[in-house]
């Protein structure tokens, strides 16, 4: 029997998950970034004893608190969605996904919750040293919390350290450390947290610039800008480094995502990196022979370097990944998508055989077949090879939005830091406006990064193992539509509430 699932359920469920994640990601990076900035300011207060720095740190701490309070628990809705919309996935991933989330909930959350009380209530009640330690431990707890969430996400991009048990129909953890310390997880953690630091730095510079535009609290604004800009430069430079690491990891583990990021249909040695380009909307099939670009400006051989650390290395394109036949680094020849689909079907058949087996020998035989082909399990759900191709347009443009805005923000931080230390920033009103507007650009850059990561890995819920069409629950599209719009309304109200409270707090200023 062939069971089909309504694609609109998948689309609405994905849209709902994206909406929730995007909303959640408005708060998280600001917590991570602003938390460090306020801790640096309090450290200066601790070192100097200057009350100015205490007031400055307290102002940013209040903004941090508003953001933290409105954002708290918004991530829990994602877990609701796993249980309802993605129940096959939730069962299938078993303890692999549950363990990092449980650690996050127990360890990091309680660490945050304990020390955040001292941070907010403890001024003048505990020693300066203990208060400073609590401030740093609060942000450390938030960062550890982010680590475990990103470990779980990284496992979906690069499933490692597990073994599939056909008896329980679950993936069981074989190596905790392979899951927690996979190269994808570590790189994702640093790159994502650094993007939060950039947003935090830009927020401080942008809001402080607003004070300069209003010609009030000038000393507070200028000193905040100096710290925010330096912090932003450090985060941006480190982010370039981890971004390079991300591109390398994607090339090794998710070559289709890399090809989509670059609009690369035909692979080649010494592949160039597209700096800017306009995709050809007339290109509808990977093998229709049409040029994928209306125009593009390439940096010669740079994609090969990013992907393989070799400027002459071969980088496969979308057509190559589907048709296979190119030599891989391990000396094997890449399988075609057709072959992977066939092996995936064998794996699913082996699962079916195992479940219906009545003797131990039959089970062992099925288990052996399943183990042999399990790495292609998810391919058995694909109807045709082109189902492997994510949205090239969205992935390609989102990647460029992230990179171009990231580059712009680095230049802006550098210009602001230079002018601030030369005491020339106060008169540059156009730059102050640019900084204020750039708060939104930093947020957009962060969101675009997630679009690249998540849209680029479609159709997979778990890379190569489970596509979204198999991960989804058997729900009606209308029920998901209803909850989508409920969320939209709820999130909009909460966002407006945050903005109103935050704007009022900012207007009051540090004094």
């Amino acid at each position: 029997m062939i069971e089909t699932i309504n694609t609109s359920v998948i689309d609405w469920s994905r849209a709902q998950f994206a909406l929730t994640a995007i909303y959640h990601w408005l708060f998280v990076p600001l917590t991570l970034g602003l938390g460090i900035v306020q801790a640096i300011m309090e450290t200066i207060y601790y070192k100097t004893g200057n009350e100015f720095w205490k007031k400055t740190a307290q102002f940013w701490m209040k903004i941090f608190g508003i953001n933290f309070a409105i954002g708290v628990a918004t991530g829990l809705i994602l877990e609701f969605e796993f249980g309802t919309n993605w129940s096959n996935y939730s069962w299938f991933v078993g303890d692999i996904f549950g363990a990092p989330l449980a650690i996050e909930g127990i360890l990091a959350f309680f660490m945050e919750a304990t020390f955040i009380a001292v941070m907010f209530f403890g001024w003048n009640k505990v020693s300066k040293g203990f208060h400073l330690a609590s401030t740093w431990l609060t942000i450390l707890g938030a960062t550890i919390s982010a680590f475990w969430i990103l470990v779980a996400n990284a496992w979906m991009q690069y499933p490692a350290g597990m073994h599939f048990n056909p008896e329980t129909v679950r993936n069981e953890m074989a190596s905790f450390w392979e899951v927690a310390l996979s190269p994808v997880a570590l790189n994702k953690f640093f790159h994502t947290v650094l993007s939060g630091w950039i947003i935090g730095g830009m927020f401080v510079v942008g809001i402080a610039s607003w004070f300069l535009l209003k010609k009030r609290d000038v000393k507070f604004a200028l000193e905040s800008i100096k710290i925010g800009a330096i912090f932003g430069i450090v985060a941006s430079v480190l982010s370039i480094w981890t971004g390079d690491g991300s591109a390398h990891q994607v090339a090794q583990r998710q070559p289709m995502k890399l090809a989509a990021m670059e609009g690369l249909y035909e692979g080649r040695e010494g592949a160039g990196l597209v700096g800017i380009g306009l995709l050809n909307p007339a290109k509808e099939q990977y093998n229709d022979g049409k040029d994928p670009f209306l125009f593009k400006i390439e940096i010669p051989r740079m994609l090969s370097f990013f992907a393989e650390r070799d400027m002459d290395a071969y980088v496969p394109g979308i057509a190559n990944i589907i048709e296979g036949g190119y030599p891989q680094k391990d000396g094997t020849v890449a399988l075609s998508a057709e072959e992977k689909i066939a092996r995936g079907k064998q794996a699913i058949q082996a699962l079916a055989d195992y479940r219906s087996a009545t003797s131990d020998s039959a089970k062992q035989q099925a288990q052996a077949a399943l183990d042999e082909h399990f790495r292609y399990f998810g391919y058995g759900y694909l109807k045709k090879p082109s189902d492997l191709i994510p949205s090239v347009g969205l992935t390609f443009y989102a990647f460029r939005v992230m990179v171009i805005l990231g580059g712009f923000l680095l230049l802006l931080f550098a210009a602001v830091a230079y002018l601030s230390y030369k005491n020339k920033f106060e008169t540059k009103r156009w730059l102050q406006w640019t900084c204020f507007i750039s708060i939104f650009l930093a947020i957009i850059a962060g969101q675009a990064g997630w679009v690249v990561a998540e849209v680029g890995r479609q159709p997979w819920a778990i890379q190569d193992i489970l596509p979204v069409s198999a991960a989804i629950s058997n729900l009606s599209a209308s029920s998901v539509q209803i909850t989508f719009f409920i969320f939209l309304a709820l999130f909009t109200v909460l966002l407006l509430a945050e903005l109103k409270i935050m704007i009022n707090a900012i207007k009051k200023g540090p004094n």
């Binding site: 608190g65 628990a73 609701f80 009380a117 209530f121 329980t168 699913i348 759900y381 058997n474």
Partner: protein, 75 residues
């Protein structure tokens, strides 16, 4: 005795902290409303555990395996 005093001090620390909140009171109200909406409305009426309809683990295993096998285009 010492332990009791320590607990009392912590209690007063939190009590004073909450009493002296300004913006925090509004934030707590928002947090409580949000948690109520999430757990008492959304979770109960809109986001039930899909596999919660099965009482036994073995039934859940059976259901998911059937789903995974049947959804393949040509198993």
């Amino acid at each position: 005795m010492q332990k009791g005093l320590f607990i009392t001090r912590i209690f007063r620390f939190y009590l004073d902290g909450f009493r002296n909140m300004t913006v925090g009171k509004t934030l707590w109200l928002i947090i409580l409303i949000k948690l109520f909406v999430m757990f008492a409305i959304l979770k109960v009426f809109f986001f039930p555990d899909y596999l919660g309809k099965f009482d036994r683990q073995s039934d859940k295993q059976e259901y998911v395996s059937d789903e995974l096998i049947r959804r393949a285009t040509n198993p």
